[in-house]
């Protein structure tokens, strides 16, 4: 993973003049999903590429070490070996980008990945995930403990009340604290866009999170009613582009929640390609947070290789 982003001074003018026109963004979101249709070999190539962006995630109340271990092995072997061989991609080291779990499961995941013999990073959600409605002190402790357990990436949720109250400087200060607490770990900031009220607020929160030193900005926790949508993503990646133009820093983007089909993942890749460019199409700058997406991609690869649609028992479970 690339070097960390460091916070820069808070500049209110970067967010105060923002204009986001929702109907226009919705139209763009509609267009962008249809304009780069890839088929056949190119589809397979794009799907394998998509696998390498996945933060394979389990965030359930009933997570235990056993299913986390299963997940970690799936992260290491995302596509059946014979399918990869048929595509001549078996030695390209295709794994998911990371494994994402609750803080209490970090040590399980770290151990499982070590057993599997790979260095896939473990990402941990933190700061009172998913609502963020706990005291700042406990939220910071949560980060520190997860890092101590071996998490290399921390997905923090922001305090939505600060956004809704317009306290951007306070939001900036909080995320700066998160940044410090992360130490060497990477900071991914979840904006919980479904709860921010407007696209303009989403742009502002994105910009504040990047100024405060986030390495990634992430759409949602997966626990809100509205999760990763294309209009939201367009606003966030435009903020990333503006931040890059202003500072020269490339910030990553992670949509999460509701991305379930291989077709969706292709649309997400083409969105990044169109709005940010090929530079962002690598795991250091683009992730997809998903739990069931991988199995659908594997089914599509199976179909591409064999010409048949797979039965559920044909592919190993996560």
């Amino acid at each position: 993973m690339s070097a960390q982003n460091q916070e820069i001074a808070f500049d209110i003018t970067w967010i105060s003049n923002v204009q986001v026109n929702q109907p226009a963004v919705l139209r763009r979101a509609e267009q962008i999903q249809t304009r780069r249709t890839v088929k056949k070999d190119w589809q397979a190539a794009w799907l394998l590429k998509a696998v390498t962006f996945i933060d394979l995630t389990t965030l359930s109340g009933d997570d235990t070490s056993s299913n986390v271990r299963r997940l970690c092995y799936k992260a290491k072997y995302p596509i059946r070996e014979d399918l990869l061989k048929a595509l001549n991609m078996q030695d390209k080291g295709i794994t998911t980008a990371a494994v994402c779990v609750y803080p209490a499961r970090v040590s399980d995941a770290v151990k499982a990945l070590k057993d599997a013999g790979c260095d896939i990073p473990v990402a941990s959600v933190a700061t009172g995930f998913p609502a963020g409605q706990t005291h700042l002190k406990t939220r910071l402790d949560e980060i520190r403990l997860a890092v101590e357990d071996g998490a290399k990436e921390i997905d923090v949720v922001i305090n939505r009340s600060l956004v809704l109250a317009g306290q951007w400087k306070a939001l900036y200060d909080e995320i700066c604290e998160f940044r410090k607490a992360c130490g060497d770990a990477h900071l991914k900031t979840i904006l919980a866009t479904g709860e921010l009220g407007s696209l303009t607020n989403i742009y502002r929160a994105s910009m504040v999170a990047m100024m405060a030193g986030s390495d990634f900005i992430k759409t949602s926790t997966g626990k809100e009613t509205v999760n990763a949508t294309f209009p939201v993503a367009i606003v966030m990646v435009r903020a990333i582009r503006d931040f890059y133009w202003k500072t020269g820093k490339k910030i990553g983007f992670k949509p999460a929640g509701g991305i379930r089909t291989a077709k969706d993942s292709l649309a997400w890749l083409s969105l990044i390609k169109e709005e940010l460019g090929d530079d962002w199409l690598k795991p250091e700058l683009f992730r997809i947070g998903a739990s069931t997406l991988l199995s659908d991609i594997e089914r599509q690869i199976y179909h591409h290789v064999t010409g048949r649609y797979a039965a559920y028992h044909d592919l190993p479970m996560a």
């Binding site: 226009a24 249809t34 890839v38 190539a45 394998l48 133009w245 490339k250 090929d278």
Partner: protein, 886 residues
């Protein structure tokens, strides 16, 4: 990008280097190695682009000195006039952290190597089945007459031969019109509900064959298939359904109107399928029959005609005639065509207007393709950039774009445009992953010559630079640094070019937008409701979108003003184009007469003193201009002969200078706080006050009329009473002008506004009292023999609102018809005068209503005060409001 596997379409076009291209702007070719496809899982493939021989005559985006951007509105420096003609423009540092996006040089183009290659050629079974040559589709069957020249239809992207079609000659066109005329006898008496069923069946048939339709349209037109599938076909379905519902309720909703008859539809080379649907749907719905004239790019028109036969449309109702001959050589002299709907370039439209003058066929023109986009500094710039893409760098729009950007957002907007421009992907129309196709060699030439001319006038050209030299695709292009006074800036911007002009204030933007002869469509980008709406209201355009561009809906009228012609399609306005009021005989039809346009009404015949003195000396003397009677410039007069042949008054002999002054006075009465911006109530009360004033003098007026016309006093009294009633009635109608808010599905609502025409010139018929004609707009009337008692009424209306010039009708008509600043003219006089007025209207494409020499019974309700007058007296404007932020 721009992969081809065959040679581009003939003729081979030269690629001259631009004389004005500065050295520093020439770009070396990208490394060939970059063209290997390196997506995982796919073997590297060689790119199919020919080797580069010459660098592009295109350059890069010039900007001012290095000024790190830090927030919008931070005192941008003026971009005009910089780097003009200098060998090396000052390029600021680029790249991350400089506040500017990286230069194109830093990232080689060809970033789309992960995308699939264009699809192989497709042979359509439908084309193969027609044999080597496509005929015409007339009277429900294919006709391939002997002896007609074949024209080749080629795929503009690959140059492949698709088919040959025949070129119709005069005789064949007459045959097709005759067939349509005979079909009209059965089609127009059908109940509306039956026609609605026909339209719905056609919609169903098109849906069944949509894949063939979109493939054929994409191949023949060079537009990307995705736009045809996702844009044109759903809209065509919507049009058929919308007009079917009008047909269903025709007897109630459109009572008092009847179909005009046979309609000739002339298709433009691009967008022929959807342009055809916009016109044939209303025409068929109201009961007209149609002859469509298509060119080699309109193969889909033939398919639609064939499918209409499959859908059970009676033979002869929809006919398609192919050919490339200009319509002005085919259409005049054809009796039976009641209406010609032309869509195409401005010059061809003007030629057709001149050719059809006096033929009796109504002509509606939708001309020009250029569009306008105004970006204020309160806009969502990223979305505005997408608006630019929709308006010029895609296959959604037929023409280029004039882009006005507020100075304080200018630089940021250009950076964003520059970045976006690189992402536009061009390729074969059947490739599902491209944004733009091509429109053939002629369109390529137009774009290239505009670029070269702009460069020679000091403009900076910005293109992506990855298009190979022999490519049939013209890359998306930005043209910067032209001023409105550059000769190039006055020409229409061709597709896919964007010419950018900075503006300082919204007022200046308005002046720049309205200061061109274009009056088609525009969009306004601002998040400030007050500003966006105000600009949208004040733009002289047919369609204005706020924070969107290019939205279409079957219920939303599309049209224009000024050089775009005054035709409308879609919505109720589109229906009235094909309707004629019941009970009013149509204009006599026939080939235009021989008329010497240079001589018609050139000077007024001299009037010699007759020696008899007028009977009454009460009538005021002079031309009534700017609210007062003044001496005519000719300083001479003409007698008004009464019923017994004796002189009953003298009126001033008006001339060209009087007309000029009258038009100026009328224009002064227009802008705020003028007549048009008054609240309707105030306009109504002014008309009612006029009615009161007339009624106080009704006895005197009636007696004067007796003297002039020799009618009964009882008759003239009735006439005066009717005049007063008309004034009151139109005053009341000021409130109900048919404007309203309409919903258009997910796009948000649109407003249908009825706006004033501006200055309307009316040439009054012989012997008509002025009060008979009264419409709630600025009016200017010359008339040769009438009388007036204006003096005491003059104070009731604002000065200049109504100007009256008397004199020789032909001479005054000539002056008015050739006046470029008169946007509308009503002529009620001789057949020759009508022909002249129609011919002369080609100058500024003024909206003309001429009677063709047929006298009109003004005292009848339908002819003197019917809804037709209301329709003609105002102009429609569609204003799209996009909403939704919740």
């Amino acid at each position: 990008m721009a992969c081809r596997d065959t040679e581009p379409g003939e003729p081979a076009r030269p690629r001259p280097r631009s004389p004005g291209s500065p050295r520093a702007l020439a770009r070396p070719c990208p490394p060939a190695a970059a063209s290997a496809r390196t997506g995982p899982g796919s073997p590297p493939q060689p790119r199919l682009s020919p080797p580069r021989s010459a660098p592009r005559p295109a350059g890069s985006c010039p900007f001012l000195g290095p000024r790190p951007w830090s927030g919008r509105g931070a005192g941008a420096s003026p971009p005009a006039g910089h780097a003009k003609g200098q060998g090396t423009p000052l390029l600021p540092p680029r790249g991350p952290g400089t506040g500017r996006p990286p230069r194109l040089k830093e990232t080689p183009p060809g970033g789309d190597r992960d995308l699939p290659p264009p699809p192989p050629s497709v042979r359509l079974a439908w084309l193969d089945k027609q044999g080597s040559t496509l005929g015409h589709f007339v009277n429900g069957k294919w006709l391939k007459p002997e002896g007609q020249e074949p024209v080749t239809c080629r795929d503009p992207c690959s140059g492949e031969l698709l088919a040959s079609c025949l070129q119709a000659d005069d005789g064949f066109v007459a045959l097709a019109v005759d067939v349509a005329g005979r079909a009209l006898e059965a089609w127009s008496p059908l109940p509306g509900a039956a026609r609605a069923q026909h339209l719905l069946r056609l919609a169903e048939t098109l849906r069944r064959h949509q894949k063939l339709l979109w493939t054929l349209e994409a191949m023949a037109s060079g537009r990307v298939v995705r736009e045809v599938r996702d844009g044109d076909l759903p809209l065509a379905q919507q049009l058929l359904q919308y007009h079917a519902s009008w047909a269903q309720t025709q007897e109630q909703a459109l009572s008092g109107w009847e179909p005009v008859g046979v309609v000739a539809v002339v298709l433009p080379p691009a967008f022929s399928f959807i342009e055809m649907m916009w016109r044939i749907c209303p025409a068929l719905a109201v009961g007209c029959t149609v002859v469509v004239f298509g060119g080699p790019a309109s193969l889909s028109a033939l398919l639609v005609a064939q499918l209409s036969e499959e859908a059970g449309l009676p033979p002869g109702v929809l006919n398609v005639v192919m050919g490339t001959a200009p319509p002005e050589t085919l259409l005049p002299g054809l009796p039976g065509v009641a209406k010609v709907a032309f869509s195409g370039p401005v010059q061809e439209g003007k030629a057709l207007r001149r050719a059809l003058a006096g033929s009796g066929a109504d002509l509606s023109l939708s001309l020009g393709t250029e569009s306008l986009l105004v970006v204020t500094d309160t806009a969502d710039l990223d979305s505005a950039v997408e608006g630019v893409v929709d308006a010029a760098w895609s296959d959604r729009s037929p023409g280029g774009l004039r882009l006005l950007v507020q100075l304080s957002a200018y630089e940021e907007m250009l950076w964003k445009l520059e970045t976006r421009l690189r992402r536009v992907r061009q390729g074969r129309s059947l490739d599902w992953a491209v944004d733009m196709g091509t429109r053939g060699p002629a369109a390529w030439e137009r774009a290239q010559s505009y670029v070269q001319e702009a460069q020679s006038q000091g403009a900076q050209i910005f293109q992506d630079g990855s298009t190979p030299p022999q490519s049939p695709f013209f890359p998306p292009t930005l043209v910067l640094g032209l001023a409105p006074a550059s000769p190039c800036a006055q020409a229409e911007v061709p597709w896919p070019l964007v010419t950018v002009f900075p503006f300082r204030t919204a007022k200046e933007a308005l002046a720049m937008s309205n200061g061109t002869p274009r009056g088609g469509s525009a969009s306004v980008w601002s998040e400030r409701l007050t500003l966006g709406l105000d600009l949208a209201y004040k733009l002289l355009m047919g369609t204005v979108w706020i924070n969107a561009h290019g939205l279409k809906d079957a219920a939303a009228p599309v049209g224009g003003c000024k050089e775009n012609g005054s035709a409308w399609h879609g919505g109720p306005d589109g229906l009235y184009e094909y309707l004629h009021p019941v009970g009013i005989p149509p204009r006599p039809q026939g080939p235009p007469q021989l008329l010497d346009y240079d001589k018609f009404g050139l000077s007024a015949p001299p009037v010699l003193p007759s020696g008899t003195s007028p009977a009454s000396a009460t009538a005021p003397y002079g031309v009534f201009v700017a609210g007062r009677f003044q001496n005519p410039s000719s300083r001479s007069s003409r007698p008004v002969l009464g019923s017994g042949g004796r002189i009953c008054a003298h009126v001033a002999e008006g001339g060209a200078k009087d007309i000029r002054e009258a038009v100026e006075a009328a224009h002064k009465a227009t802008p705020a706080p003028g007549w048009a911006s008054r609240v309707p109530g105030s306009r109504a009360s002014a008309l009612w006050a006029l009615a009161d004033a007339v009624s106080q003098r009704s006895q005197e007026l009636a007696e004067q009329l007796v003297e002039v016309t020799g009618s009964d006093l009882a008759d003239t009294r009735t006439e005066v009473v009717l005049s007063i009633a008309r004034l009151r009635a139109w005053g009341a109608q000021v409130h109900a002008q048919g404007a309203g808010l309409h919903s258009a599905g997910p796009h948000g609502p649109f407003l249908r506004l009825r706006e004033a025409l501006g200055v309307l010139a009316i040439v009054c018929p012989e012997g008509a009292a002025p009060a008979r004609l009264c419409v709630s707009h600025r009016v200017q009337r010359p008339f040769s023999s009438t009388l007036s008692s204006w003096q005491d009424m003059a104070g009731l209306l604002p000065p200049g609102l109504v100007n009256v010039v008397t004199g020789d009708r032909d001479h005054l008509t000539r002056c008015l018809a050739l006046h470029q600043d008169v946007p509308a003219l009503w002529y009620f006089g001789s057949a020759q005068g009508s022909q002249f007025v129609e011919w002369a209207s080609a100058g500024n494409l003024k909206a003309v209503w001429a009677n063709g020499g047929r006298s009109r019974c003004w005292d009848r309700e339908g002819e003197g005060a019917g809804p037709e007058l209301g329709l003609r007296a105002a102009r429609t404007k569609a204003l799209w409001l996009s909403l939704g932020d919740i």
